[in-house]
Symmetry: C2
Subunit: 151 residues, 2 copies
DNA sequence: AGCGAAACGGACCTGATTATCCTATTGTCG
DNA sequence: CGACAATAGGATAATCAGGTCCGTTTCGCT
């Protein structure tokens, strides 16, 4: 469904989105919190910095941070630079000709699945995720400890 | 979305489902019609035979055929033995604890995506696919000739 | 029985993905 | 300025999916 790399990227982005404040996060800090191999995570974050989703800062106190407000970064923005999403547009059965008029037997089924998937990635922002509270958190004040404000 | 192996399997199964008659199909025949590498396809079909979706028959005139009526084989039955679908049940963000009560921030989003995907796989049968006719086929009698034949 | 057609099974090759390590570069602070 | 902290980036290793090859087994046919 998602490559390992994509999943790691998502974990890191969620971590940064939920962290209060504007400062840079070090790779080690993110790696420790998300359980992603630090060296590999560094590579992934470098890619995301190159694709303008993150800012990076070398030197003491440096690290990575979101390049834009949370609500302007979608899951798609995170996944897209790391996986070959274009493959989704190709016919599942490998037919050269497969569109809404001349379709392979799976065309409609697959179109629906793909549409739902991409739609979710496009419509879900890091803001949505940062705001998320599980049922347990909503019911039990203890869970509200790592408090965020806003909205 | 789907591994190469899963896609190949789907192509072969669709071919067999759409082919009239009850006889065995040889690997070479299927490979030629679907564009899947013959040797690799053989491995895939062997796996499907082991997982009771296909019957196989050695020797002259042998090959593979569906083990059950078309309408009793779902896309899930085809994909499941070949990919690690269990991975879908694990939390995308790698949290040890992630369920409807105590959830990770992506739990609901991912649950919806996964549900749509698995739902389609479970509810679509080879019968549905075999019956499928594209708009062009329905409108233009030329297309109603058995579209899949080569050799 | 003997031959050829076909699946079966194991060994092996290959390239992409995942992961690690080392050095260079860049920034902060004393 | 010099020491240190942190990313950048290149080289390399490990793992795995995808793919090939070949010998064996099993069957149908003559």
């Amino acid at each position: 469904m998602l490559t390992q790399t994509g999943e790691y990227a998502l974990r890191a982005m969620v971590y940064m989105a939920r962290k209060p404040g504007e400062g840079f996060c070090g790779v080690k800090e993110i790696a420790a919190s998300t359980g992603v191999p630090a060296n590999y995570l560094a590579k992934i974050l470098q890619q995301l910095a190159r694709s303008k989703v993150l800012d990076s800062q070398k030197g003491f106190g440096g690290g990575f941070r979101l390049n834009r407000p949370r609500e302007e970064i979608t899951l798609f923005d995170v996944i897209d630079p790391l996986e070959r999403v274009e493959k989704f547009d190709q016919c599942v059965l490998g037919q050269r000709l497969c569109n809404d008029q001349v379709a392979c037997p799976l065309h409609e089924t697959w179109k629906a699945i793909r549409g739902q998937y991409l739609g979710s990635l496009h419509s879900t922002t890091l803001q949505d995720i940062a705001d998320f509270r599980s049922k347990a958190e909503l019911l039990d004040p203890k869970f509200t400890a790592p408090a965020l404000s806003k909205r």
